[in-house]
């Protein structure tokens, strides 16, 4: 018997992996990919909760849909800015954006 707890646990693991990725990846594209994992972890939690606990409105699954929209929008702006970074530095590694500090 699969319960909501299983889904939430899976999403938590996925979220932890995403966090790990955001911190360790040294390429901006890879960092953004890790963020995508985070968003999907949240979407799984939403969708599962809708199926288990929100039988009338199912709003969690609607939320999951919107998360995809948000993810796409975020990525498009992120890549546009990334292109600017690349244009200035010729690289997409994180260390090219470490000039300003303090």
């Amino acid at each position: 018997m699969i319960t909501l707890g299983h889904f939430l646990a899976l999403s938590a693991v996925l979220f932890a992996i995403g966090l790990f990725g955001v911190i360790t990846r040294r390429n901006l594209i890879a960092v953004l990919m890790s963020v995508e994992i985070l968003l999907n972890a949240a979407a799984i939690a939403f969708a599962a909760t809708a199926a288990y606990k929100d039988p009338v409105f199912f709003s969690g699954q609607l939320f999951a849909l919107f998360i995809m929209v948000v993810a796409a929008a975020e990525l498009s702006i992120g890549f546009a800015i990334l292109l600017n970074v690349f244009r200035h530095t010729g690289s997409a590694a994180t260390d090219v954006v470490e000039e300003m500090r303090g």
Partner: protein, 156 residues
Amino acid sequence: MSVLGFAILAGLIIAGALVVVLSENIVHAAVALAFTFFFVAGLYVLLGSPLLAVIQFAVNAAAIPILTLFIIMTTQSRRIRPASGVFYLVAGFLALVFLVGLWGYLGAPETAFRPLGPEGLGVRLLTVTLLPFEVASVLLLLAMVGAVVLARRREE
């Protein structure tokens, strides 16, 4: 619901995500991302929501990885320089603590599982969430205009 199906999907999702965050080859990571999202779509099927699964497949498992690969090619990224060991340790520790911290709270009460068909979801999308739906369109428009403005070639 099939326990076995969930276990297999969960294992594949976690494995895919691990490849995404660990692989030193960025193309591998992007492909692994696509697979991870594909398996997440499978999870949505398991939750009785084929509509969500289809959109997940179309957007997250297809469009986004393709966009990512496109950017990877544009920026000619190949390998990701690995972070120093200390960093892995710190990050691993943080992720672990986060997970453990969450774990204590998980375990929602047992409730019955009730799927909802695509029609129901569609109707709710345009009634319950009509305003968010419209807002999402503005959000996409903003992203589009923003991306165009930021990435447009300089006109001399």
